[in-house]
């Protein structure tokens, strides 16, 4: 469904993303992990049209979308959420979602109705008339998700949708994400919460210093020495292996 080929982006000499390549097949949940500052959000921005790549290409459903503007890409079915959530603070939850619904629906009344439906899918049905600015962080994350859903996407890019949530909230959102996939939406998510990555994703990509360093089944990838070193530093894999050896003996 999504093909990213050799995408690169530099800012004033610093390479934020270098020659990243990945594929997201239809109907799957794919995850993108990596230490902070690895360039994951930048990659999302490149895919969704918020940044223009210096080189490389992005193909969505066979169509090249590389230099399109974000709203065009959204209209074609690829929508992203933001790591730092961006609610329409002075509007109600329902109005927030309705704006997104308007991408597919012209009539105001219908959009507002659709908003209520989508809100129910993420568990926000009780907060419809609340001001978005008054929501808790968990509420805002759900709102971010609901808005994206209201655009009837084929591919959903979720950027750290679980950041700031407690264990219960994470559990709930994992279920919601699974139900979204079951409804036919392909999902590509950036996540730090490893249990979620493990339990949700079919395949994982690992980014470090802007470059892809590994990809594969989540379990295999997270136990690869290279990936461990990316997160914990040089030599960490050996130290861990050595410690494990000590306990074995």
């Amino acid at each position: 469904m999504l093909e990213v080929r050799s995408i690169s982006k530099s800012f004033g000499g610093l390479a934020a993303v270098s020659e990243a390549t990945l594929t997201v097949p239809q109907g799957k949940i794919i995850s993108l992990i990596g230490p902070n500052g690895a360039g994951k959000t930048t990659l999302f921005a490149l895919i969704s049209g918020f940044l223009k790549p210096d080189q490389g290409s992005v193909t969505f459903n066979g169509l090249g979308i590389t230099n399109q503007r974000p709203h065009r890409i959204c209209q074609q079915g690829l929508v992203r959420t933001f790591q730092v959530v961006k609610p329409f603070a002075n509007l109600t939850v329902r109005e927030n979602i309705a704006v997104a619904a308007h991408t597919r629906i012209a009539k105001r009344a219908l959009a507002l109705d659709k908003a209520a439906e989508v809100a129910a899918r993420v568990g926000l049905e009780g907060a419809l008339e609340q001001s978005a600015g008054a929501l808790t962080i968990a509420g805002r994350k759900r709102l971010e998700l609901a808005r994206a859903l209201a655009t009837e996407p084929k591919l959903l890019l979720l950027d750290e949708v679980m950041a700031g949530l407690n264990a219960t909230e994470i559990h709930e959102i994992v279920d919601i994400i699974r139900s979204i996939r079951d409804a036919g939406v392909t999902i590509f998510l950036i996540e730090h919460v490893m249990q979620a990555v493990m339990s949700l994703s079919d395949y994982t990509y690992v980014l470090n210093h802007g470059a892809m360093i590994a990809d594969g089944e989540p379990r295999a990838v997270t136990s690869s020495p290279q990936v461990i070193e990316a997160y914990l530093g040089h030599g960490a894999a050996e130290r861990i292996a050595a410690m494990a050896g000590k306990f074995d003996a």
Binding site: S48, F50, R69, P70, H71, R72, C74, Q75, V79, R80, T81, F82, K86, P87, F88, A89, N90, L91, E95, A98, V99, A100, H102, T103, A106, K107, R108, A111, R147, A148, A150, T151
Partner: protein
């Protein structure tokens, strides 16, 4: 506040505004109402782009002045009927809106930078209108011929020499009609898909873009609509005063009054500019009554007050008078339900 309650409130307000002047015989107070409604229309024009769209313009006079000049010049130079020239005035201003909008939005100007560039455009038009007397009559200004034939009052859109009713109330009902039309357009916009997208852009442009809104196109639509509404006030001005010159058309006064009314009254609401205009003009009248006898009839008093009120509102009442009313209504309704 439910839409039904809002609509009821508006109908009452409209009825009052429609009938009240008939009970007023003092020309001064009719003039006061005319001026207030005039600024209310000007303010609504600003409100569409600034209040709903979040793009604060400091040079809205550029639209007022263009509308006024086109209205005046087509009559002055070609003798066209004012009822025809007004269409050109409004669309001409919309074109200027498209021009300013295209440049500003294409190059991503927002916030204070957008405010400043609109100021620069207003100044540029000011200088241009002063420098090409062959086209605009320059600093001399455009003086339209006064129609003294009561029979021609409506066709020349001038009521100074008309039958008794039109003479007293013609201009009032003109600006009232313009108010009704432009406010109805704003009311409709608020409830449309376009309005929802515009407000989303104001709240968070990136998120709006990510959710499929063509932010450039929506902003362009907003600035053109805003320009057209503002120009309608310019059309009224020319018909009422039969005179326009560069300072009046493109000077800072109109730009500032437009944003005063909208911000003090409540940005992003239909009622805001009307409330704001009534409030500041009312305060202005009171101030003149009080200060007049002490200091004489010196200019500047009302604007000092407007400036102070603006600062006060920005600091303590960011939602303006309309926001206050909304809060009071909620408390009343909530109290009954409790």
């Amino acid at each position: 506040m439910s839409d039904r309650a809002r609509l009821m409130g508006w109908l009452i307000l409209i009825a009052v505004l429609a009938i009240a002047p008939l009970f007023i015989t003092s020309g001064r107070w009719i003039g006061f109402l005319e001026m207030t409604l005039f600024i209310a229309v000007l303010g609504q024009g600003w409100n569409i782009l600034g209040g709903y769209g979040g793009q604060y313009s400091f040079g809205h006079a550029v639209f007022f002045g263009t509308g006024a000049y086109i209205q005046a010049l087509l009559q002055f130079k070609f003798g066209w009927s004012p009822w025809i020239t007004l269409w050109f005035a409004v669309s001409g201003a919309a074109l200027v809106g498209a021009f300013v909008g295209y440049l500003s939005f294409r190059y991503g100007l927002k916030g204070s930078y957008f405010a400043l560039i609109t100021l620069a455009f207003a100044e540029a038009f000011h200088v241009l209108s002063r420098s090409f007397p062959s086209i605009t009559e320059g600093g001399r200004g455009v003086q339209l011929a006064l129609n003294q034939d009561p029979v021609q009052a409506i066709s020349t859109f001038q009521f100074n020499f008309a039958g008794p009713f039109l003479k007293a109330y013609g201009f009032y009902y003109t600006i009232f009609a313009i108010l009704l039309l432009t406010y109805w357009v704003t009311w409709w916009m608020e409830r449309s898909r376009f309005g929802a997208q515009l407000v989303a852009i104001r709240e968070n442009e990136d998120a709006a873009e990510a959710l499929g809104i063509n932010t450039f196109r929506v902003k362009m639509g907003a600035i053109c609509l805003s320009a057209a509404v503002t120009a309608s006030a310019g059309v009224y001005y020319v018909q009422k005063y039969l005179f326009i010159e560069p300072g009046i058309a493109y000077g800072p006064t109109k730009s500032v009054e437009a944003l005063f009314a909208a911000i003090i009254g409540g940005v992003g609401t239909v009622l805001g500019p009307l409330l704001g205009s009534f409030f500041i003009h009312g305060v202005g009248e009171i101030a003149k009554e009080i200060i007049g006898p002490v200091f004489g009839d010196r200019p500047g008093v009302d604007l000092i007050l407007f400036g102070l009120i603006l600062i006060f509102v920005l600091a303590f009442v960011p939602r303006g008078l309309a926001g206050l009313l909304e809060a009071l209504w909620k408390r009343k309704v909530g109290g009954r339900n409790a």
